[in-house]
């Protein structure tokens, strides 16, 4: 009973997964759309313009897409007075503009920020987050989200995705040029088996490019997380509160046992299994390696501040 997989090890994935899937589907859709445009012979400049418009549209509607894909609802002060008070306190102390506040009705503790400009941004928290964290920890999490807004991370990530789409586009264009021998706009007349194979290859390369750019975006966003942790902790002045919130959200806190060492000791096998499946094992397969790393950085900050 001490070594079984705990339920909270898989609890943090739902919300993030839904967002990633939504945006992945959108991206794949417009990559396919652009491929079709290219295939039917629309000019490169027109495709660039259309791609630009689509990315702008995605950025413009990003908050709506996020709200829709996560099921978050904007809540008024009347509905959640304490939450509004808490956000207003942080905002007032740090001269930030107050975001709109949304709540997601789920037991999974989580939160996110979105929005094009600091003024029009949204901070969303789940009901599970409010239940599980105490006031100071919730403050830490919201400060982290406000730091995302202040740092314009939505814009940063949108720009990153523009570059990734551009990279894909250049690659595809290069391919197209190579395959059709630089003949301008001759797409129509050459359909057939060759065209079909070319289309398949183009799609394959598009997918590979997309995966690569997805990884790059993830790296950027991981870095932005660290920055938001740091800035959020500076906003509240209490890095350890955000750290303990992260530990609670990830379920790590619950893994600290309450059974006495002397009770456990009686079970001889116990100490053999963890000795093997101890830290190296969890490091390899842990579902949330970054949480430990983020907590470590926050605790170093705490140690430096005290």
């Amino acid at each position: 009973m001490f070594t079984k997989k705990q339920p909270w090890q898989k609890r943090d994935t739902g919300l993030t997964a839904r967002m990633i899937v939504s945006f992945a589907v959108l991206t794949v859709l417009y990559i396919i759309f652009l491929s079709v445009l290219a295939y039917v012979g629309v000019s490169a400049i027109a495709i660039a313009v259309i791609a630009g418009i689509m990315i702008l549209a995605q950025w413009y509607f990003s908050d709506k897409i996020v709200l829709w894909s996560t099921g978050a609802k904007i809540v008024s002060r009347e509905q959640f007075p304490e939450l509004h008070d808490l956000v207003e306190r942080i905002v007032a102390r740090n001269n930030l503009s107050k975001p709109r506040i949304a709540v997601i009705n789920t037991r999974t503790p989580n939160s996110f920020a979105t929005g094009k400009t600091p003024k029009s941004s949204i901070v969303a928290v789940t009901t599970g987050l409010m239940d599980e964290l105490d006031a100071e920890e919730l403050e830490g999490v919201i400060a982290h989200e406000l730091a995302h807004i202040k740092n314009r991370d939505v814009l940063v990530l949108t720009l990153a995705s523009i570059f990734s789409v551009m990279a894909w586009y250049l690659m595809r264009f290069g391919m197209y040029g190579a395959m059709f021998g630089g003949g301008g706009g001759g797409g129509y007349g050459r359909r057939g088996n060759e065209g079909g194979a070319a289309m398949l290859l183009i799609l394959l390369i598009a997918v590979i490019t997309w995966i690569a750019s997805f990884l790059i975006i993830r790296a950027i966003s991981r870095y932005r997380e660290y920055v938001a942790d740091r800035d959020g902790a500076l906003i509240t002045g209490k890095p350890s509160k955000l750290a303990s919130a992260l530990l609670k959200i990830s379920g790590t806190m619950k893994r600290i046992p309450t059974r006495d060492l002397r009770e456990i000791e009686g079970m001889n096998a116990f100490f053999i299994i963890p000795a093997v499946s101890g830290s190296s094992f969890t490091n390899l397969f842990s579902t949330h390696p970054p949480v430990a790393q983020r907590v470590k950085k926050l605790m170093e900050m705490e140690a430096a501040m005290s």
Partner: protein, 178 residues
């Protein structure tokens, strides 16, 4: 375990945790001649502590059947030497699998809106690693403070980074002098 002789300074500087001068070692008692002889060895050592070590000691047995040897002294070097000598005797007599833990007591001089209370480092002999133990009441711990202790000293002493192995030792007999 001797790495603690320098790491305690870090705890004091970074966390405001002071060594109280109390520490203890605990092992499971069993019946039999060999165990009895080991116990005699330990008592003989304890009886001749002074003047080499500036330590006082007492023993107690808890409800789990674990024997506790509690040391009190001013110098951390003496405390560590006392503990190590006892654990060496236990190991020499072939009872190393009965050794459970050593416990070091600290007290906080930072109020931070809560009462001053005892905080501990537990040394697990099976894992040869330290981990924090900050009880706040009946079967409750201050996980955040335990995390802070880890952040402060994990680089300096062999530290148990797997929090699922931070097993508490409730009702430590370090202070029940009555």
């Amino acid at each position: 375990m001797f790495s603690l002789s320098s790491a305690y300074v870090t705890l004091e500087v970074k966390m405001g945790l002071k060594v109280t001068g109390r520490c203890a070692l605990t092992f499971k008692t069993v019946s039999g001649t060999f165990f009895y002889e080991m116990e005699q060895d330990i008592r003989q050592f304890l009886g001749n502590l002074q003047p080499e070590f500036d330590l006082t000691w007492r023993t107690t047995t808890d409800s789990y059947g674990y024997m506790w040897i509690v040391f009190e002294g001013k110098r951390i070097e003496d405390l560590l030497a006392g503990l190590t000598t006892v654990s060496d005797i236990v190991e020499e007599r072939g009872f190393s699998d009965k050794l459970l833990a050593a416990v070091f007591e600290f007290s906080s001089d930072r109020e931070e809106g809560r009462k001053t209370r005892q905080q501990y480092l537990i040394y697990n002999y099976k894992r040869n690693k330290f981990y924090p133990f900050v009880p706040t009441g009946q079967k409750t711990i201050d996980a955040e403070q335990q995390m802070k202790i880890m952040a402060a000293v994990a680089e300096e002493i062999p530290f148990e980074r797997d929090m699922t192995l931070w097993y508490p030792l409730w009702d430590l007999p370090l202070r029940s002098l009555g």
